[in-house]
Symmetry: C2
Subunit: 228 residues, 2 copies
DNA sequence: CAAATAGTGTCTATAAGACATTATTGG
DNA sequence: CCAATAATGTCTTATAGACACTATTTG
């Protein structure tokens, strides 16, 4: 005999970098519970519509932010009797990374960005979910190409290094960083494209190689000495 | 409006090491669908009984194998319209590690161990789930104390090294391995306890320090050069 | 030319692996 | 004493970081 109905939802932690701080996109809830509160974009799974929960997360993103296909990965499942006032619930959480410009240039109505530290007043266990996502991103960034998804399509190496440093929260040796990027073998220089305009030597623009648009490049060793 | 009922289950991938090969514990299903087939121990979440899905997984293990508190961690959630013939379903998968002797000495009825390679005929997407668990264990073992949970309470360093080698599938340099174990700082020698009986120098017995009974020790660097 | 930042060369420090040596048991 | 394996010392190689130097732009 099946169980009493369990509330099945999907939530998405959409992260981007503004300046040097990670921000999460929050969505003003349109219904109870917590109507009007900013919370993670999410909602019920639609079994008739969604082929699986990844598909549901992708739909959630599309509906609430208009964003089509960012880097999107399952984070984990949060569950229990006490996380939702409506009853025993399950939330399958996903996280997504995006260049901040994509949100800032055409902000979806009801969407606000907020720094991931000092989050307060989030409903459900959404604060825990955001913290888990941030930890996952930090950890995965220490040995993979993950942070490139926070950059736009083209970027310079100094810019990418700053993104890594912002995510990891510590400075990285420039020579080592460039050696690692070489080793990860995920970037290609854009022929003849340089970032100019400032009073210094122009920087080469790079882009992600096509084969890494959807999948990460991972290094056998950490980029930095620290780890979690 | 809530969704059409979704089937919510928990499955456990219980792994142990027999000789040098990882085995998974399979449970002969007592009901349809796939009645009689060996499958992952699992079942419906009981909202009245389980405080969350970890608790449900723990109960599943207890009920089907009699095992109380092994290392148990969430693996991920598998979902969709097509994985279960009964309808749209969610399985929150957990994995557990255990010394093989605990299963072999008093085998629960209906439980069989099977090598994780060449699994065939598993129902649902249980083969995918097992593969994901094995990959997780391999990956996590490369930089943490995870494999100690495959050993009994006391073990020698050569034995532990063999366990790591079996899990990772490659030989490890003895000196480097011992340096890493020193660095992980998770073992303590059992005073005066040596493994004797064979025609060679006896080996010191070690055990996990108390503070690592429940949590892992992680290294900033990989144990071996390889990675995933 | 000065200031600023990009990009590279090179030396040093640290970690990993190869290999050899010593230690301790049973037969 | 021999065989076997534990345990450790030490040299070599690989990787990471420090630091300095060159390159190229604007004003």
């Amino acid at each position: 005999m099946p169980q009493k109905a369990i509330i099945c939802t999907v939530d998405v932690v959409l992260l981007c970098l503004r300046g040097t701080v990670l921000n999460v996109a929050l969505w003003r809830r349109e219904r109870a519970p917590f109507e009007g509160s900013p919370a993670l974009p999410g909602g019920y799974i639609h079994p008739e519509e969604d082929v699986d929960t990844l598909d549901a997360a992708s739909r959630m993103l599309r509906e609430k932010t208009g964003i089509a296909s960012p880097y999107l990965e399952q984070l984990g499942t949060f569950s229990g009797a006490s996380r939702d006032p409506r009853g025993w619930s399950i939330s399958i959480a996903y996280y997504a990374l995006l260049p901040a410009e994509l949100i800032e240039q055409e902000p979806a109505p009801g969407l606000v960005l907020q720094a991931v530290e000092q989050l307060k007043g989030l409903p459900f266990d959404h604060k825990d979910i955001v913290q888990a996502a941030v930890q996952r991103v930090r950890n995965k960034s220490s040995y993979s190409s993950l942070p490139v998804y926070l950059c736009g399509e083209q970027f310079t190496l100094p810019r990418l290094q700053a993104v890594y440093e912002a995510v990891l929260g510590e400075p990285i040796n420039k020579v080592s960083f460039r050696r690692k990027m070489e080793e990860l073998d995920m970037l290609e220089a854009v022929e003849g494209a340089m970032e100019t305009g400032r009073a210094n030597r122009p920087a080469q623009l790079y882009r992600l190689k096509h084969e890494f648009q959807q999948c990460l490049s991972v290094s056998p060793r950490s980029l930095t000495a620290a780890a979690g």
